[in-house]
Symmetry: C2
Subunit: 438 residues, 2 copies
């Protein structure tokens, strides 16, 4: 992409309304623009990151056997009356009346809708297990939206829902999502720790939050330090027997504030391993048995021919919030440092003198070669001073900067800078390309 | 994808509420499920088609130079008060009050939001032309939603918005979208005719609808027959000079009902070329000058340093409605016939005897080879009778069916059926694979 024809409205000043670094950097780097309290438009660069995260989340859901559907944003209030949650949900639910005076709402989550879809079609245990996931915009009318996309009102969520004939099956489904989440966050470059958590308005008796540690985290968390660096299981696990992987993690103490038991923490965790920190929730999984299937009559015929309500779980990832979380975990004073897996472009080419034909030709040549090697490129061809271009490149945080100017072109070299380390190297273009496409 | 682990809830009976064939087939083939009047959940097969269409639309927008953003679904009423449309829009606008008693709405379109984004950042003619597009869910609270996704309330729309310093520039932007639309619909396997159209609530003085002809079309259209088979310009046009391509089409008579002039039709079109038919609108483009930029003060400094309101156009494609339109244009008594470009899977493998090890091994082998060749496969491995499998395969309309049974495996052959023609051929597996991957 040629920057002169792109839309990258960066800001020089730090917006005063932004209290945390990810919010400030998302506004300054031209990723988002606030349209109303807690409601954002995604500008081109931000949208590219959002789509990459979405795709990684999708791939790991599919690997774990979940099937993608897409539920509407607007739901019938009557469905929520069936589950009993319509009155219980409180003012965070955005309630809507349509032109025919029907009560509707903007879905804050979709247990009711997916249970309705399930009961409309599935009648036998033979069609189970089933896990349906959905990546769709949700709305929660927060009292005080803040921290940018970290606590917005309109946000993108991946929500999956598992259906099993009994608790044994449901726990297997739970484990699959548990492991899928470990792999997802690892691919995103994050160290996420599963912690016992409160079930809140979703309900149920088994629940884990996936938390990344950051000073600006919204909640206090307590865990065994050894959990933080435990590597993700990876894709090549036995998906039909994940209990040992889950046990290995749940055996170590990790709890959010609401579930924390100070006595147990002290008794179970050696003093050197006790970690008390701030955390950001990036995923939350629930097993809630028949909480929705019973009142909503999501019933299948079991192996013995008798009808049973299905056992369900639900599994959320805050896709849009993850961008904020990633920036909280990966930035410096100059700007964002994107992990390669989610960077909006792989490489930024900086043309130091766009009016110089030889320099521009070298830039175009490098761009064409990177493109041919499957790399995405943002080419800064603007008629602007080098200092401004360097600042923009650091601010938007692409993993690599390829800097091409008249002196280098005369000497047959370019400069290659790695954003994460600040390391710079002067070398022939071909050698730089080899490094970038290795 | 293994059908036994997929979620494809087909219906045997024709749903009585569906009045047109595309709606009936979308319900029967398990593409969608109605959640409320005019509001649908997208089931796995339908979502795959939706995503393929979305991607083709995106690629052609980008080819024409438009840059993707994503605007929120919920908008501030105050923005619509600025443009004067808040009171004008009528009951089709879904109006919402949030917990702080602020007037909001679910966007039926986004001229106001995008103008607000534009004016927040762009200050000079040097940053123009600019075209920002967005593929997002919209809501129009139709009095009588019907025809499935063809006239739903919650629907997926691609909407692009162009910004130019003057009318000359704006007409160039209009032409780029005009040509992008011809190419988009052609890639989708549709013959879409641009027709002079009424501008409705968007406003402006230049507008074309892109219409495909179908007996079940919602409106009467009148055009020169020669427009229907005029080939699309394709990607290799001179994007900076498209006037002749546009002129070639607009020189021939084509108008929707509201814009039709019977005298002109008779005078300008030879009797043998006069076509009166029903049509389905799949795209609509507008040039409306300064209608929004003036009241909303979207102003840039022109080349002479003086401030001017920008000239704008907007360009819509009904992404979800296109699925209905494609089915209206491409089906038979047995079911859907997907054009290859949008088919949810390229090939369906039908295992005639899943309990036979040799047959299953041949199916798995074929699947692996197709996958290696980059083809997507839906493998019907269900323990079901051949008749039911054939009916499902025809109903869901994948372009190719690869039928593998015990007799064929013994003889070293498979059967290959082309859905569009019904043509069947018995041949060795390798020859079939060669045909499918040619």
């Amino acid at each position: 992409m040629r920057l002169s024809r792109y839309f990258l409205p960066t800001l020089k000043e730090t917006p005063s309304e932004a209290q945390i670094v990810s919010h400030r950097l998302m506004l300054r780097a031209g990723l988002i623009r606030q349209e109303a309290a807690g409601i954002y438009a995604w500008l081109p660069l931000g949208l590219r990151v959002l789509k990459r995260i979405e795709q990684i989340v999708r791939e790991e859901q599919e690997r774990a056997g979940a099937v993608e559907i897409l539920m509407p944003t607007i739901q019938l209030a009557d469905l929520w009356r069936e589950s009993g949650r319509y009155d219980a949900y409180g003012p965070e639910m955005l309630r809507i009346v349509d032109r025919h005076k029907r009560d509707m709402l903007y879905g804050p989550t979709a247990e009711e809708v997916v249970t309705d879809i399930f009961r409309g079609f599935v009648k036998s245990y033979r069609d189970l297990p089933l896990n349906l996931f959905n990546i769709q915009w949700k709305f929660r009318d927060e009292q005080r939206p803040r921290f940018g996309v970290m606590r917005g009102r309109e946000f993108l969520m991946k929500d999956a829902y598992s259906f099993d004939v009994d608790e044994v099956g449901a726990r297997k489904s739970y484990n699959r999502m548990f492991v899928a989440y470990l792999n997802t966050f690892s691919r995103l470059g994050l160290k996420a720790v599963p912690m016992r958590a409160d079930t809140g308005p979703i309900g149920g008796d088994l629940s884990h939050e996936f938390i990344i540690l950051a000073d600006t985290g919204e909640s206090q968390v307590f865990c065994d330090r050894r959990l933080v660096d435990m590597p993700a299981p990876g894709p090549d696990v036995d998906w039909n027997d994940l209990q040992s992987i889950v046990d290995q993690r749940t055996a170590l103490y990790a709890a959010t504030d609401e579930m924390h038991e100070a006595d147990r923490f002290d008794a179970e965790v050696g003093e050197g391993d006790r970690l008390t920190a701030r955390g950001i929730e990036v995923g939350h999984i629930f097993y809630f048995g028949t909480k929705y299937s019973k009142p909503m009559k999501a019933i299948v015929a079991g192996p013995d021919g008798k009808d049973v309500p299905v056992h369900m779980g639900s599994y959320g990832v805050g896709v849009s919030r993850l961008i904020g979380a990633i920036i909280e975990a990966s930035h410096d004073d100059a700007g964002i440092i994107w992990p390669e897996a989610v960077a909006p472009f792989d490489v930024g080419i900086i043309n130091l003198r766009p009016n110089d034909e030889a320099v521009s030709a070298a830039c175009e040549d490098a761009w064409a070669k990177l493109k041919a090697a499957g790399k995405t490129v943002l080419y800064d061809d603007r008629d602007d001073r080098p200092g401004g271009k360097f600042a923009t490149a650091d601010l938007i945080g692409l993993p690599w900067q390829l800097i091409i100017g008249p002196k280098g072109v005369a000497d047959g070299v370019v400069e290659l800078k790695r954003r994460a380390t600040g390391e710079r190297e002067t070398l022939p273009l071909d050698a730089a390309l080899q490094k970038l496409t290795a």
